[in-house]
Subunit: 136 residues, 2 copies
DNA sequence: CAGTATCCCTGTTGATACTG
DNA sequence: CAGTATCAACAGGGATACTG
């Protein structure tokens, strides 16, 4: 039930889907957050942003992830159609995982997460306002 | 321990802090994610982005959040110096919460989360590539 | 190789009642 | 008003061993 007694910031909350009183799974912010949330998720996405990889390759690149969690992440990403699975014939079996176009759509978000994280770390360390590439 | 055998995408992983093999609390992506993660967190941030508010005002705007969780969120945000608390004198007691400049730094991230969420929802509904208002 | 199946353990959330 | 205290319920994550 949307509020009508307050002005909404049009940049922050452009439409009604963001004007919720409780966490709604179909609020865009929740949708995006769900896509990248969960331990190891952003690391798996990072690896796949570099190109397709097999299950075993992912384990090599992320040696400390457990098989269970990796499988779980890949399955969830698959259900959300962010990642596509392809079984390669031959022996031994290989499976190739790649980002779908929808998955690629997460790239700007990951970049923004990184940027924001850097900014928070700078504030934290008490650095003076640092120069931002060609602005300010 | 950073990988050296693969090329890193400079936009996605601009420096060594993002080249981790495991989730590191001081990786910028994790820092930013931690700032907005947790149920109700983005909603509290949204409210404070509209301006300072008291504990009770926040409860009015988010009627279903429990007092415990709201207090918890405000404390965590406070520890991270994203939110500042100010006790107002008088009776009854009032406390005003407001974003710090560091907290304001989360705004572009929230905007990007919303934008990405909308995009994911569009992909999900199988809509054709929609026009993007002359942006990015 | 590419996963499942178990089991355990911890952190998170929520409801509710109470206090300075 | 602005929280804290308590307790119950649950989901997420990890270690390990096993299978097609």
């Amino acid at each position: 039930m949307p509020r009508t007694d307050t002005r909404w910031d049009a940049e922050l909350v452009p439409d009604a889907r963001g004007r919720t009183v409780r966490p709604e799974p179909d609020c865009p912010v929740e949708v995006a957050l769900a896509a990248v949330s969960g331990r190891w998720t952003t690391l798996v996405l990072r690896e796949l942003m570099h190109g397709p990889a097999s299950y075993g390759e992912l384990r090599e690149r992320l040696p400390e992830i457990s098989p269970k969690v990796l499988a779980e992440r890949l399955q969830t990403l698959g259900e959300r159609e962010l990642v596509a699975r392809e079984r390669l014939l031959g022996f031994p079996v290989r499976t190739s995982y790649r980002l779908t176009p929808t998955g690629e759509a997460l790239r700007p978000l990951l970049v923004e997460l990184y940027r924001t994280g850097v900014e928070l770390l700078e504030h934290r360390s008490g650095a003076a306002a640092p120069p931002r590439a060609g602005n300010r």
